[in-house]
């Protein structure tokens, strides 16, 4: 049972990690690609971390919760990165796909 849960969590995590990178690879402009890593850093890594927490909690004595910290740190740093990259891209006027909706003003 435990193994099943772990397996599923791991697969979910790996899947979303992959999806993130597929997005990065596939999407047509920088701003769209920017959305890729957020997948990976949230659910992708998150699911795998949960799997790890469960795994080590059961495998060793005592619970293992420090995996939460990775998520916590990522949740603080990843958006800052994304924010700055976006800002930089806008600043140097990186091209957008034509169909991009522009600001209302």
């Amino acid at each position: 049972m435990l193994e099943w849960i772990l397996a599923i969590l791991i697969l979910i995590g790996a899947f979303f990690t992959l999806v993130g990178s597929i997005g990065l690879y596939k999407l047509s402009d920088f701003y769209m690609r920017l959305h890729g890593p957020t997948k990976a850093s949230t659910l992708g890594v998150g699911a795998i971390l949960i799997a790890s927490a469960i795994h080590f909690s059961f495998k060793t004595e005592g619970v293992s919760l420090h995996e939460i910290l990775v998520t916590l740190f990522l949740f603080i740093t990843a958006p800052v990165s994304a924010h700055l990259m976006a800002k930089a891209a806008i600043h140097i006027k990186v091209k957008q796909v034509e169909r991009t909706r522009q600001l209302e003003k």
Partner: protein, 939 residues
Amino acid sequence: MSLLSFNLPLAAFLPFAAAPIAAWATRYNRLASAWVAGLTTLLTLAILFPSMHAIFAGETIIQQWSWLPDIGFNIAFRLDGLALLFALLILLIGLLIIFYARYYLSAKDSMGRFYAYMLMFMGSMLGIVLSENLLQLVVFWELTSITSFLLISYWQHRQDARQGARMALAITGAGGLALLGGVLLLGHIVGSYELTQVLASGDLIRGHDLYLPTLLLILLGVFTKSAQFPFHFWLPHAMAAPTPVSAYLHSATMVKAGIFLLARFFPALSGTPEWSWLVGTAGMLTLLIGAYVALFKHDLKGLLAYSTLSHLGLITLLFGFGSQMALVAAIFHIINHATFKGSLFMVAGIIDHESGSRDMRKLNGLFKMMPHTAMLAMIAAAAMAGVPLLNGFLSKEMFFEQAISASDTTLAAWTIPALVTLAAIFSVAYSLRFIHDVFFNGEPIDLPKTPHEPPRFMKIPVDILVVLCLIVGVAPMLLIGPILSVAVAASLQAPAPEFSLAIWHGFNLPLMMSFIALVLGVAVYTVRHRLFAWHDRCLHGIEGKAVFDWLQWKTIRFAKKVTDYFDQTTLQPSVSWVIGGALVLSIITFFQFNSPLFGDRTLMEADVITILMALTLIVASLLTAVLHHQRLTSLISIGVVGLVVALGFVKFSAPDLALTQLSVEVVTIVLLLLALFFLPQHTPQERSYIRLSRDGIISISAAVAVFLLTMAVLSREYSSIANFFIENAKPGGGGTNVVNVILVDFRGFDTLGEIVVLALAGLGVFAMLEGLKLAAPAKDVEGLEWSHDPHPPIMQTLTRLLFPLMLMVAVYIFLRGHNLPGGGFIAGLIASVALISQYLANGIDWTNDRLRTDMHRIMWLGLLIASGTGVVSMLLGYPFLTSAFTYLNWPVVGKFEVASAIAFDLGVFLVVVGATVMILVELGKLSHAAHFINVEDIK
């Protein structure tokens, strides 16, 4: 210890000791130095005097002290007949020269310097002739080169003096080095550098494989010093020296040092065809060339110089004949030549001194103005020409005799006497010229001064020498017999042959040769004007100096070419040499052994993910290289390399390394970005395909070599000392993280060095950046204005939030390091990154306001703590850096470990923080001082 047990070294040493006194004495009285020099010479004579009796009794005095026995270099002096003869020549003629020079030198000339040099030279010469140890002899030999350089260049403002001195030193110095080589070989053959043994080993030497090289090297020394062809040309140019120097060095003493060596080594080296041919040929050529050229010299001293060459050739030729009687003649002529040539040089000096010229085309009819001097000159010149009743005649007769007897043994029986006679003809001619051109031959032309007799005392040395010429010429055995006899015996290392120095040997072939020489000599002189014209037309400008200059110029040009080829002050060739050198050396060395390239260790299967990561790493590396023209891109891709390397460390069981690599990676990227701002954003394309292919070949070779090396090791088994660390980390080091225990305990000394490196890097960066002004681009590469938002608020807010968290993690990583992956270094980097993130997000001023700590302080504190823990262990009697740990049990907290290694690690932590922050922040501050310019301006 009586004086007689050390008077020889004392005699050689005394002039050296007196030299500084002479130099110093001149401060008080201009003539004081002359007095010092003269008295020193007399004293030296007096010191040698007590030993003379024994020498005339046929004894040899040896005084030696062990000095460097390992190499056979002893302080060893020897006085025998030969040495005594030369020592007397050196001292007696020296005394006369000292006397003479006191009148010769003008008020402008520094007496102190002159006499100091003279004394040093005298000491060196005495050293040569008194040496028993050959290495010691070489020392004095080279000293004469150095002191003669000083003497020739005495009038240092004159270019000819400087050049002449340099040339003399170059030639005689080279000869000295050759002599050193020869002496070393001689010592090698004989097994000792002591003359006594060398002289006793003639057969051994002559029979040895190394005989010829030894002989050649020693003869090189002899020929250069004694100005034998083809090394003769330095001597005329050395005439730029003051005349007393010429008289002393270049006629009486130094040039005879080579001859002295021929006499010295006669029993050891002579008696072979090689000896005869080499010595004889050089002597004969010098004899002829010197005699011939002397006639054509218009300069008084030039004439005397070439005449000296000729006579040196004569003596050398006599040694080349190799017979015992030839040796007698040679040594006899040495004495005679010293007397008449010394006096002639002094006469030349007097004429120069009194008339201001040495040009025989201007000097005419001086007899009327200086009859006394003229008389002296005539007698001495007659001796030089070999006129009977003078000493020169006697030795020349002996020479002719030897030339005739030597010709018996050769095929072309008549050549030697013929050539010798030819030389004698010219000798007569130039002697005649010296007298007739100067003292008669009409009236003087345009002389700077009106000549008159010199001061009375200036003539006294000449008087003495000329009188000697006469006495020896008339009653040779009286004065010369005994000393010549012992000198010959000493030179032969055997009883001297029977010889008689009679004036009259009856009508014989030598007498006839003398007669022919006299007659034809006068004839040649009478047709001199036609000869001069012919000479100027055909042979003018052919000179050894030109060859020497050409050779020297070629050598220097070659040197410059070679040096410039290697030392181009360019980096890439230097690096290529290093890498190429390492490759070539290691490849050659590897193939000298019969080792297979690879071993037979079982290798590990590769898994998909590792292959993938390896590919990533490979491509990223290639990308870094290929894209290096776009620097930012290249930097990003090197970031990938660092990340994957860290992942690799994780994969292969090195969590500590992974942590370190990750943190260093981050800091490195920030560092390089900080610097990149001030550098061009693109590297220009290189168009030289030659260079690209050269670099390509080197890089690929290096890569392949490293691949093979890695595989060669990894495919082999090994056993290491690792087990000790694993077994002792916990019980001995108090930690379970073996890597950390190695770092802070087993090999803490490495770590101490490492943090010193880091601290020095920080200080070095600090020092380099001080006052550094750089241009910073006002726009980016695309020409875009920079963003106006230096500190995006969202970044600001969140990095501040992150700050305490990072510090917390740093503490965590620090504290666990001893037992689990982590430690002071990684923690230090995390703390640094935490600080740097503040600098990045909030700016330098803002952060500095809050930090309020000079990183210097952090660094020394860290270094102090780290080394302090080591010192504490010393205070407790343990070796430096011995660690200690214990377990404490506190209420509530429970049991925990306290280890001195933690303190050490704290030092590491502080240094890392201090250095890293200092480096990055100092670099960041650079933009404060930068002036902003447009990109176009940089291009």
